[in-house]
């Protein structure tokens, strides 16, 4: 019997697990996908929002602002790429400019520092902005993060500290009997004193297995373009248009790897498991982004993708026990700003809802840091050569576009967090993320995975089940 079972290995599950790993407790994480952070935590804008936008007094506002403040230290401990480059909410006409004051007022209520930036300074900060821009609201605490390593390294750290993880197991039923929860999956059955529902898009569905819930989670799709790292400084801060009832609008931002991201759209999606893109929506994204930044070089496009926001019917995050099952904690409807909020949600759930309930005792020793992940191409010359001398595989580049070495790939296969698929390796190391999209490196990654996992190359999956790349041997 476990003390706690966490259902769902996205960003929220990751920080619940990591915070729980500080305590003397047995913790098991169950995930349907073949990797952690493989759904909403993977397909989003990767922005560490400042928190000026959520309605004051909501859980969203609280978790966003608190989460934002946690990022610098957290990303240091977890060795995650993070840059506090600030955000600019850009007014393109006088009417919008007048609205900035209202946004600033809301920011103040949420305790978020902001500053109005007028044209001269604005165009110095962002030379490629539409010359019509009248001014912008600058939020210096906003930033960008690598969303893939954020979730992965938080799990790695949790696993290093004793948490257990089972990938590829979908929860199909939960029964409660005398305060003990039996969680049945596609592969087994597990018991625990508490369950934390971090199932994202499926969180209402999971909670309903225990008792009917009044809230619902609807999928709101967002579609994006990703551009290559063609040039430094095309945009420097995260650029937002004025927010509307549909959300924060189409942003233009750089990513922590120097790429540029443009999106997301916002459309209701009846199928929670549909991540398709469509030409008309993306054309609209392009049009709106171009209104803010006219010269976006879309010929540098290397990828389009879509994610589904887990939008709650209650308009706020649901972070509470089920009314009749105090041992079952819901973390539902964690839509944007979910990524930045996840560390705060994890802390709140563990400190306020789990530790007191189970009367958990803190471990005397707890390791907050992951073992450093080498990124050879970003190191200074002497450091590169010291590492290559120790392990020549750091000198053998596998991914040409993103400059990822064999040593880096092998290191990911020697960690507590499993790396089972081509996509998982891509998310951990960036191999295959570049302009050729794995055209040259994918076979090398695939064969390395087969060798290290002890499976046939035809069994290596791209990401989910039945996504094998190879059909069979040639004649």
């Amino acid at each position: 019997m476990e003390d706690v079972i966490i259902i769902g290995a996205g960003a929220v599950g990751a920080f619940v697990a990591r915070n729980l790993s500080r305590y003397k407790a047995s913790v098991l994480v169950l995930e349907e996908q073949n990797d952690v952070g493989d759904v909403t935590s993977m397909a989003n804008s990767a922005i560490v929002h400042s928190g000026y936008d959520p309605v004051p007094g909501t859980k969203k506002a609280y978790c966003n602002v608190k989460g934002n403040a946690m990022f610098p230290k957290l990303c240091e401990e977890l060795d995650v790429e993070f840059e506090q480059n600030g955000s600019l909410t850009v007014a393109l006409d006088d009417k919008q400019f007048a609205m900035l004051e209202g946004l600033q007022q809301r920011a103040k209520e949420n305790g978020v520092p902001t500053r109005l930036v007028l044209t001269e300074e604005l165009f110095k900060m962002e030379p490629n902005l539409n010359p019509c821009a009248k001014g912008a609201l600058f939020c210096p605490t906003a930033g960008i993060v690598n969303p893939f390593t954020l979730t992965a390294h938080a799990f790695e750290n949790a696993l290093d500290n004793g948490v257990k993880l089972r990938l590829g197991e979908k929860v199909v039923d939960i029964k409660e009997n005398g305060g003990v929860y039996s969680v049945k999956t596609t592969k087994g059955e597990y018991q625990a004193k508490m369950v934390v529902d971090c199932a994202g898009l499926h969180s209402a569905e999971i909670a309903s297995m225990v008792e009917p819930v009044e809230w619902k989670v609807n999928a709101r799709k967002g579609q994006y373009y990703v551009l290559d790292h063609f040039k430094l400084g095309f945009v420097n801060s995260v650029l937002f248009p004025l927010p509307s009832e549909k959300g924060k609008g189409i942003l233009v931002s750089k990513t922590t790897s120097g790429n540029y991201i443009v999106g997301p759209s916002s459309e209701w999606n009846e199928d929670l498991d549909d991540f398709s893109t469509d030409a008309a929506t993306l054309a609209n994204v392009k049009e709106q982004a171009t209104a803010m930044v006219p010269g976006i070089p879309f010929r540098e496009q290397i990828r389009v993708f879509a994610g589904n926001r887990a939008t709650p019917s209650t308009h706020d995050f649901i972070i509470e026990p089920l009314p009749h099952h105090p041992g079952f904690i819901c973390c539902g409807g964690i839509e944007s700003p979910g990524l930045v909020s996840s560390p705060a949600i994890g802390e709140h759930v563990v400190e306020q809802l789990i530790a007191p309930f189970l009367k958990l005792e803190e471990k005397k020793q707890w390791e907050p840091c992951v073992r450093k992940h080498v990124r050879i191409a970003s190191l200074p010359m002497e450091e590169r050569n010291r590492l290559i001398k120790e392990n020549p595989h750091y000198g053998i580049m596998v991914c040409n576009c993103e400059k990822v070495s064999l040593g880096e790939l092998e290191d990911e296969l020697n960690r507590s967090l499993p790396c089972l698929t081509i996509k998982a390796m891509k998310k951990r190391t960036r191999a295959g993320f570049g302009k050729c999209q794995g055209g040259f490196c994918q076979p090398k990654v695939l064969l390395l995975l087969a060798k290290k996992l002890g499976i046939d190359p035809t069994e290596v999956k791209y990401d989910r089940d039945h996504s094998e790349v190879l059909e069979g041997r040639s004649k």
Binding site: N385, H393, G395, I396, Q437, L447, S467, E468, V469, S474
Partner: protein
Amino acid sequence: MEKRDLVIIGGGSAGMAAAVAAYDKGVHDILILERTEFLGGILNQCIHNGFGLHEFKEELTGPEFFTRFVKQVEERGIEYKLSANVVGVTKDKVVTYFSGEDGCVEVQAKAIVMAAGCYERNAGAIGIPGDRPSGVITAGQAQLYLNAYGYMVGKKVFILGSGDIGLIMARRMTLEGAKVLGVAELMPYSNGLERNIQQCLKDFDIPLYLSHTVTKVIGKGKLEAIEISQVDERMKPIPGTEKRFEVDTLLLSIGLIPNNDLLDKAGIEASKTRGAKVDSRMMTLSAPGIFSAGNVLHVHDLVDYVVAEGRTAGEGAAAYIKGELKPSEEGILTEAGKGIGYVVPAKLDLDAPGDALEVKFRVSRPSKNVYVVYSQGGVPIKKILKLAIIPSEMEIYKLPKNLLKADGGPLTVSLEPKEEK
């Protein structure tokens, strides 16, 4: 810092030809840096024949073709490093590379030949609508899996784009027992060499859908089906023309892009092809001593021309190293006029060897009975009648120097219809 006369980036056909040519012109301190485990570049996976008709007057397979150049490199004792990946080039000609044996090394070169080849345009670049399952794969990657590693990527195949690699793979996978259900080409004409359309599609009864594109990819894990639609003259899909094919593989053969990142990031000006702007000796206009040749400059249809271009670059680099070639402000800039996609080189150099200067270009769309008109400063200096001209074939014309004036303004290549009588 290590010093070298000539550093060549890429050990494929262009790089090896450049090395051999530079050596034969008296520059012997040469280092070829090749990122894979083999010399030969992309020809390592091109096991079909058809290479070398111009160069050797015989039909060779890819490996047979490049092996002859490996032999020339080895006979001359030219040094090459394998698994040596160049990560940086500066205008001052410092090359940084990674290797397991040497570590991360900076080399100061007197001249550089960039010969890093090209890469395939892929699903992400064109944003094919629909899901993103496994099974949507570039034709070259499928070829790599098949010819280098011995694995098939699928059994029921559809191909988007009629580029040559796709056509070659249609035949290759059919021979391996796969069923190729069709090829969709966005343009109203095919984009591969005529011989490949005949030998790889028609001979196997594989239908070619011109003016069609893939409008939906369906599949959560592995590809399950695709939908193609006819497009109008503005390339927009026409509703109601959808056709569905149940396939496990969608091969993409939708174009090749020069792999010119290193020169781009060094701040060397690029042309329409995305390769660097060069002169008649293949020397970049923005960085004297840095040359570029082969598919990293512009995508070729035949390796024979890649080799010839590599040789020009190698000879130019040797001349530069020996002080015989001074960068000059002079020269005749070239322009792509009506009906022309691009022109290489960007500048004609009247001091380059020979009585004629090569002008290479591709047309934007197929035409019949047209004149290719070469004009300088707006005045036609040469007109050549072409009965048929197509984008998939690179045109090379040796323009006699005596037709050009040093101060006559830019040279424009354009198409002009032949007047009907």
